[in-house]
Symmetry: C2
Subunit: 572 residues, 2 copies
């Protein structure tokens, strides 16, 4: 809903003032709308576009060099008055006549139509251009009754470029009508919008559902269904628009994937990821496609796909330079990219020439990482549940992803003959890369520091393992600045390392020493229930964490336990 | 919430692919992020920015000439991995070293910090620049602990421009830290956002309330209050940011009014309408201010105000040309416009030289319009209630606004000595201009046609009034294409005109003839209860309108009744 409002009666006028203040280098205000700050060439045809407000950047954002000469702005979702249209058009006229561009809505048809008659009677050559791109608003047999929606952008851009190029008024009008004849849009809506000052939405779409064919103001749709996945939505939009392709059009097109208000750029990019492949598969060349908000409906959720087929006459006008709030670019060369180049997989780093003992060491480390990945995969949900008490609940997912990536990277390094040091180093980097976040970085750096205590030519010794654990602890403390008692993984890692060093120094065998250290880690992890986080967590998170152990300490303890079992298996 | 999703695990990666496809002329994909499609000059310092995804155009949209050389993109709201940062930075390095720019969040500090150490160890000169503009995230004494939010845009833009200008890495870093030291942001949130694939919002703000100081991911705010009016919100943001101004700064600044996701451009422009006045009153010169979405949080509702104070070193970098998806402009000259020029009131049209009889005619028409405005003002709510059955309920408001504007315009014309024809013509245009919509246009055009039957040199005659009514009817039918029985104002206007002509022809006195015609109009308006609308109304509206009279016919009948009473008053 509209939250920034003040006097609702003044909303559209205030927004227009704010727009003029923000873009005073491009537009200047006149009664009823805006003109270009720098008027076009004398004698050129003036394109004056307009309609209700609430559709930004339609229509005032279309004003500027290479596009519209002026825009008339009505109240929210309401046609501008005849007087406003006449006033703006008179000011916009450069002696070459005026083309009035608007969507094909009853109020606009009436007001722009009357204005055109009067302007013509005053001696200003005037033509009208009503967009009719919305294929859902009437069937093909009644194309003239269709509404104009996001196709306003492509049709008016092409018309404006033709006017900028110095064509006569009849030629500009012909180009505009041709662009409109070759433009089709189909849209879907996930949620409604609210007129400023009102409390209720203008229309609602049930949760999880999607209305097909809704216009720019929530005009009745033609159907409703559950929201499909992104690839299926791409297919739906693509098929609905392509099914309405005019006969005999080339496979060259301007395409606009338009957001209606609160459907975000990331969502549109996801959809474009799939849509571009559909166009590529259909053999299309796309010219300067647009993915973003170009004709909105306040905070309505939804999107639409517009295709304007381009012949040799229309294409240069679509590619032409433009300098407006909505669209700024120079002349566009080349076609769109519809498939990405495949990125090379990162290579395994170099290591010392392999040896039998070195290989054995690598196998041993890789096997341990594989066990670890299995155990953390099983513990994912439980670790997530515990982490959600104190944080955002992504710890289990991060550990599962990280250890799984480390497992795979270790196997790849092993296949190339790497030893213990390289296998663990490569796995550490893969862990951090895939796990992300703070704990991913700490685990990655910790394991990497651990690996520097190993070598590529022998099996890891007990002393190397103890030294590696110590290096991991020191690196993690250095990076994370945590001390024991801060309720982090250091609470478990610290007693593990201390116990390992002590028991090894006391002459215990490796498996027993590791087991004892692991038990110390587990006890300490359980003990974090009584602690309050000290580092970088908000007060509410601190309170929620009371009585719960730290997920990071738990997963560290679990890891040491898995390795202890592995010791027993392999060393008996 | 996020509706276009598919596989949630792949959301950020898919959005990045879609972005690269849409902007292949500006960026090209690498593992972990994007590079400029056209690399900067050899030897220049490379600015590599990054952070979690979900903040578009932060950070991938900042890549391009004059801004960043590359961007690293993490998962939604999650820091990119150390490996990703290193990989992107290596590719971005042009031999002049790398500056890593990121918001001051724990995960980013860790990953970018480790990456900087490793890059430095590899022999690539590396500096870090963590933004700390969010004044709500820590108090002034702990500025280094503050988060980076929308100030990312201004700080990194200035830093990128310094790198583009060929400064050394230490100078670019110094400029970047200086810009960050002089940047402050304060934000408010009206509603939360949803991680793709999740059903629940990450956080909620109670309806009608506003959280103060929320970060880019819904980090805990510092306070909550009812949403204030637009001017009060402008004052709140202005005062919170200005209260944190660094000491000794000039009154020249870059300003960014940033939308967080579903707060729309129109709302931001309304806020800017008020904010620009506050900056003007405080004696500020603003350079190239920005009003739009530059650092978002998926579909979060809210906005923030960022001020970066500019001295002689920073200002040229802020004005410098830039060519990125987020920001495209040449070198910017001049300051912002902070107040709009006053638009001239439209002048009353010319009329024949005044005469005593002409003036009397003008007075008579103006008085009738004044009565009409009073009556339609009183009927506004009732007409709105009836219209809401079949339409959007704005008929009463439109008639009240239109007739009131006509009344005022008539008084202005009268004051200049205009006669009946001019007074009614001017009033007609004012009616249409202020009422808007379809019925505003029809009334304006109808009254204008009526006025052509009058003259400016005599009192209106009965014959002129009948002729005027007939001309009004013809014009309205011509424009609106309605026939009697279509459930429009024509249902009342048609019998009115027919009865007026018949009774006058039968020799009735003016007042009686008008009264009889008015009664016919009222009966016909009531009779529209039994009709179904035929023109341009959706099926649901048609069904809802059953049993209700047409609001347009009712208001027409009411108008004729008011004039009948006026006849009796003035002619006895």
């Amino acid at each position: 809903m509209t939250r920034i409002c003040g006097n609702a009666d003044d909303f559209a006028a205030s927004a227009l003032r704010g727009f003029c203040l923000a873009y005073h280098d491009v537009v200047r205000p006149v009664r009823g709308g805006v003109l270009r700050a720098k008027p076009g060439a004398s004698g050129k045809v003036a394109l004056v576009v307009g309609g209700g407000s609430g559709h930004y950047p339609a229509f005032v954002g279309y004003v500027g060099e290479g596009f519209a000469d002026a825009s008339v702005a009505g109240d929210i979702f309401a046609s501008p008055s005849t007087q406003a249209i006449i006033n703006v058009a008179r000011e916009a006229d450069r002696g070459g006549g005026v083309i009035l561009g608007y969507g094909n809505y009853a109020g606009d048809v009436l007001n722009f139509g009357i204005a055109a008659q009067r302007l013509q009677a005053e001696g200003i050559e005037t033509r009208v251009l009503a967009t009719t791109d919305d294929v859902a608003s009437a069937d093909d047999a009644h194309r003239a009754a269709r509404r104009g929606i996001a196709g306003d952008l492509t049709v008016f851009k092409i018309t404006g470029a033709a006017a900028e190029a110095g064509l006569s008024i009849d030629d500009v009008a012909r180009v505009g009508h041709h662009a409109n004849d070759w433009t089709r849009t189909f849209g879907v809506a996930f949620g409604g919008c609210t007129i400023p000052g009102e409390k209720e939405k203008l229309f609602e779409v049930p949760a999880g559902r999607m209305a097909l064919g809704l216009g720019l103001h929530g005009e009745p749709g033609i159907d409703e269904q559950a929201i499909p996945s992104a690839p299926d939505l791409a297919t739906l939009l693509f098929e609905r628009v392509l099914a309405e392709a005019p006969s005999g059009v080339p496979r060259t097109a301007a395409v606009l994937l338009n957001g209606l208000g609160s459907t975000k750029q990331e969502e549109l990019f996801v959809l474009w990821d799939h849509l571009s492949a559909l166009f590529a598969d259909a053999g299309y060349s796309l010219v300067a496609p647009l993915v973003g908000e170009y004709a909105t409906s306040l905070e309505m959720a939804g999107c639409s796909l517009t295709v304007t087929w381009l012949d040799d006459e229309l294409e240069p006008f679509w590619r032409a330079a433009v300098e407006t709030p909505a669209l700024r670019h120079g002349v566009i060369e080349g076609d769109a990219m519809l498939a990405l180049p495949r990125l090379p997989e990162p290579d395994v780093v170099a290591f010392e020439a392999d040896s039998r003992d070195g290989r054995a060491g690598g196998i041993c480390v890789a096997a341990a990482l594989s066990k670890l990945s299995q155990a953390l995969g099983k513990a994912e949900a439980e670790l997530g549940r515990i982490d959600a008490q104190a944080g955002d609940g992504d710890h289990g997912q991060g550990m599962a992803r990280g250890s799984s990536a480390a497992d795979r990277a270790a196997q790849r390094a092993l296949a190339k003959g790497a030893g213990a040091r390289t296998v663990l180093g490569v796995a550490a980097d893969a862990w951090a890369d895939r796990a992300g976040g703070t704990s991913g970085a700490l685990w990655g750096e910790g394991l990497r520091a651990f690996s520097t205590a190993l070598d590529d030519t022998s099996r890891p010794t007990l002393e190397q393992l103890a030294d590696g654990s110590d290096r991991a602890l020191k690196r993690i403390v250095e990076l994370g600045k945590a001390k024991p008692g801060d309720k982090t993984l250091v609470d478990a890692l610290w007693p593990f390392v201390e116990t390992l060093k002590t028991t090894l120094g006391g002459g215990e065998r490796g498996a027993e020493a590791w087991r004892a250290a692991s038990e110390a880690a587990q006890a300490a992890a359980e003990g974090t229930r009584d602690l309050v986080p000290r580092l970088g967590r908000a007060k509410t998170h601190k309170e929620r964490s009371k009585g719960y152990p730290d997920a990071g300490a738990l997963s560290l303890a679990l890891a040491t336990c898995v390795i202890a079992d592995f010791f027993v298996e392999t060393t008996g």
